[in-house]
Symmetry: C2
Subunit: 216 residues, 2 copies
């Protein structure tokens, strides 16, 4: 059965791979599953038709036969469960990989998204500097802890897993901030993720979609 | 094999059931699994011994034999996978229930936690009112969307699942704010969660732990 995902017709990040279809594309490439993309506009994503698939009016969604899923974390997990390549076969190692999926989204991502919201929407406020310093304090605590746990390992727990995929996708949002330069181990970890052929294919696909939308 | 979880020796919410051991206790009660609790102090949670189990210095953790997990979402999922009662047996319904687990933690919880951080740490700032209004705007958008999707159903997708467990646990953090009063469907949904015997047993256990810590 064909897998169809939704993505923004014209990604607001202009093809930098930061939209949330990217981890889903990457996961599908890691497990070698073809997919089609239904592009949706910023307007259409908030309309009733799309909300039947995604009640919060976001991308991506995942459809295969009768199954409709949303939330990039849940979609990556579904792909990882259905196909070999993103979760270890050993039961305990698998549970730990899933732990890192949740850690990426619940513990590491929130201060990163807070930082994005502040830089996008609060930059003109008189309290912007104080607010940014507070967010970056919380963020650096998380990055310090992540760097210590990662140590000199290539990946968070044994082989590359869906946990690493989501963690790298979350950390990539910091790439332009310069903050990752303070964390050589985390920078090298993110670079290892980006160097994976599956990441490269996914990145090229979302960039091509953005370029087509501009040319069209 | 015995299940051991960690929880704060003296919960900062004074037994209101808002600490993150609560969803784990609730899940274990739903599936009828006994567990023991290793209490940790605010200081010990940041020390090296605890960080071998939880690299971000938080509670809860979950230990069973050789397996050590952290992240309440991942632990609830592990419990749901190992035992009957928290995930549907139908494959598509199971994938949708997992989607709601991620939606609770990745989409609904972030503005709720932002609101808690602001009310706890930013109340004395001159920009507190503006900041709170901005957070509550984002939060109400999510609650509007959740209320529409829930409609008149008892639970988010068929029977009660781990997705509902995490969503109710997340929404409970708003209970004292009064915001849920604006959303009768969501309030009734949260009340249905709280009325479950397994919730009641978990709540009583964490409250008893808090009361003992005060008496001790």
């Amino acid at each position: 059965m064909t897998i169809t995902i939704t993505a923004f017709e014209q990604s607001p990040d202009r093809g930098k791979g930061l939209a949330r279809d990217m981890p889903v594309r990457w996961a599908l490439e890691e497990v070698g599953q073809p997919y089609t993309v239904r592009p949706v506009s910023f307007g259409a994503v908030k309309e009733a038709t799309h909300r039947t698939r995604q009640p919060f009016g976001q991308i991506p969604t995942y459809e295969q036969g009768d199954l409709v899923l949303f939330e990039s974390g849940a979609i990556v997990f579904h792909i990882a469960e259905q196909h070999v390549g993103l979760l270890p076969s050993n039961a305990n190692a698998r549970a730990r990989a899933i732990t890192w999926m949740f850690a990426a989204l619940s513990t590491v991502e929130p201060p990163i998204v807070d930082r994005s919201i502040a830089t996008l929407f609060e930059r003109d406020q008189p309290w912007y500097d104080a607010r940014l310093a507070s967010i970056e304090g919380r963020l650096r605590t998380r990055l310090d802890e992540l760097s210590i746990r990662l140590g000199d390992a290539d990946w968070l727990d044994g082989s590359f897993s869906a946990g690493d995929l989501l963690m790298v996708a979350v950390l990539l949002r910091l790439k332009l901030s310069g903050i990752l330069d303070e964390y050589p181990r985390i920078s090298a970890y993110v670079a290892r993720g980006e160097a994976r052929p599956a990441f490269q294919r996914a990145f090229a696909a979302q960039l091509a979609a953005f370029n087509e939308s501009c040319a069209g």
